[in-house]
């Protein structure tokens, strides 16, 4: 049966078959479905993990109203999910490069397009490869806060993530029989020479690279590994008062507030507080992590006023949410909404102290929000206004 989709298209003139298009141009035994499927399996798991944790991070930052049920516990929830996102993303670099190397000859297939369906499949793979490279490169560069592009990284990384996992799902669906057959292949045991050794050696090398990369970077969020974090962009204990900073006061154009600083609290019974009055309120302690979207995290011992005490005093109804606003003149994260579960949590503070000292200006002096299980960019710094919602 000849369908227009699968019918054979005319082959281009053989004279065009030159260079990498020649038969046997790629001689390596590494260009083999057995290797591709094995690395591909790990790469698929890595992309699925990054996509899932990426969605979590995306929606937590967007704070849509349908996510108001998200609990404020466990306190380390976002720390773990985002640590996994970035850690897996870093491990994806070796996996992706190795996977693409095993299929490099496919780019030079002859004839380039056998049928309409084959052409469509090749287009979907072009989309897959470009989206996968894009996600890995932009994510890798973002963790050092280097933005050599004009678009808004979180939004584009999110949408291209959909393209990447979607085209991977399509690719797996199309290649399922080849993948199953390749994974079922076993190299003859006991052979010490030849292509089998090359393939096994390559898989071992790629696995080693993943392990080395992970060990040398995971310390940015896994504290016991911090001495090994030779290539991590952060150390969990390096920064003012022993904690890293994402946005500095200089970067946010914040000056130290003077004696005229007032914390404005609005609600049914609005009031303002000077810094001395804020310090005179009952102070509470909380040991909570700052967990950044960039994958690092560090634990701080915070001391300050409970957010729910401030809201109660303003006459907030039980279960009220709040909005906190920074002294920052602009910036995407100068405001954040604290949902009712987080606002009512006894661990959610407007912190005035960190690790036994008055808060450093880079950490949000005079007061910053610190809440459990919350992305770092929503732990608003230099807070000057609290509104009951």
């Amino acid at each position: 049966m000849r369908s227009p989709l699968t019918g054979r298209l005319p082959e281009p003139p053989a004279a065009l078959r030159r260079g990498p298009l020649r038969e046997g141009a790629f001689g390596s035994p590494l260009h083999d479905p057995a290797v591709t499927a094995r690395i591909g399996r790990w790469l698929g798991i890595a992309f699925a993990t990054c996509f899932t944790t990426g969605l979590i991070s995306h929606y937590l930052q967007q704070q849509p109203s349908w996510l108001a049920w998200v609990p404020s516990r466990p306190v380390w929830g976002y720390r773990v999910s985002q640590g996994i996102h970035v850690g897996t993303g870093l491990a994806t670099v070796p996996l992706l490069l190795a996977k693409l190397w095993t299929v490099a000859p496919k780019l030079w297939d002859w004839p380039p397009v056998r049928s309409v369906l084959h052409g469509l499949e090749r287009l979907s793979i072009l989309l897959l490869v470009s989206a996968a490279i894009f996600e890995v490169v932009t994510g890798l560069v973002n963790v050092v806060q280097w933005y050599p592009w004009p678009f808004f990284f979180p939004r584009v990384h999110y949408y291209v993530g959909w393209i990447a996992v979607g085209s991977i799902a399509l690719h797996v669906a199309v290649k399922a029989p080849i993948i199953a057959a390749a994974l079922a292949t076993r190299e003859p045991a006991g052979r010490a020479e030849g292509p089998a050794v090359d393939r096994r050696g390559f898989l071992v090398a790629v696995g080693t690279a993943v392990a080395v990369v992970t060990v040398l970077t995971a310390g940015q969020t896994v504290r016991p590994l911090r001495r090994l974090a030779l290539l991590a962009p952060r150390r969990p204990d390096t920064g003012p008062q022993g904690l890293p900073v994402n946005r500095t006061a200089a970067g946010a154009r914040i000056r130290p507030p003077g004696p005229d600083f007032r914390m404005v609290v609005t609600g049914p019974r609005p009031y303002t507080l000077s810094l001395a009055e804020l310090r005179a309120l009952p102070q509470h302690e909380a040991t909570l992590p700052i967990a950044c979207v960039e994958g690092w995290s560090g634990t701080g011992h915070w001391r300050g006023v409970r957010l729910r005490d401030l809201l109660d005093r303003a006459g907030a109804p039980p279960g009220a949410a709040a909005r906190v606003t920074s002294l920052e003149a602009d910036g995407l994260y100068r405001q954040s909404v604290v949902g009712s579960r987080h606002a009512g949590d006894r661990l959610t503070l407007l912190a005035l102290e960190l690790n036994g000292e008055p808060l450093d200006l880079d950490h949000g002096s005079p007061a910053r929000l610190i809440a459990p299980n919350r992305p770092g960019v929503l732990q608003t710094k230099w807070v000057a206004r609290v509104e009951v919602l």
Binding site: P94, A104, V137, P150, V160, A169, G201, V212
Partner: protein, 163 residues
């Protein structure tokens, strides 16, 4: 697509879901306005794949070819493994080594990364040498160096121009 019954249905469902996800992503990029700046995003998408296929892959092929020319067959798998690990770790380290980022923030990239990468690469080189030396000695005993064919039955691909 082939396959029978539930397998076939599973594959169609996965494929259809995939196409839906791709459509959602493309729509988001095209309608996102300034935030997604689609001409720039499209440029980056295309540039990544072109740089990979037309620059990086030929370089890797050339590296593999040199490996088959210069490294004796018995130690080649070990040496190739060491080179693969070194290259992949270097790829991940490029951003921190580049020194980009915000210099006003001392807690961002606080370490001497070029030195750290050099330490890691040295450790990989030493490990590779330790693993390769016994093989080399074993093989040298078995057959004199003159009889080994350096170009060997190439386990690594040759660049198109040379094969």
């Amino acid at each position: 697509m082939t396959g029978a019954g539930p397998v076939r249905a599973w594959r169609y469902a996965l494929g259809a879901g995939g196409i839906g996800a791709v459509a959602f992503g493309l729509r988001g990029l095209l309608t996102g306005g300034v935030a997604t700046a689609w001409p720039a995003t499209a440029t980056w998408l295309v540039a990544g794949v072109l740089l990979h296929d037309l620059v990086l892959v030929p370089l890797l092929a050339a590296g593999g070819w040199l490996l088959t020319r210069w490294v004796p067959a018995p130690v080649r798998p070990v040496v190739r493994g060491g080179v693969v690990v070194a290259a992949l770790v270097t790829a991940v380290a490029l951003p921190v080594v580049s020194g980009k980022g915000d210099p006003r923030n001392p807690s961002l990239t606080p370490l001497d990364y070029p030195r750290n990468l050099a330490i890691v690469l040295a450790a990989v080189a030493v490990t590779t040498a330790v693993l390769a030396l016994p093989r080399r000695r074993r093989c040298a005993r078995r057959d004199p160096p003159g009889r080994r064919d350096p170009a060997g039955p190439g386990p690594v691909s040759r660049p198109p121009a040379a094969g």
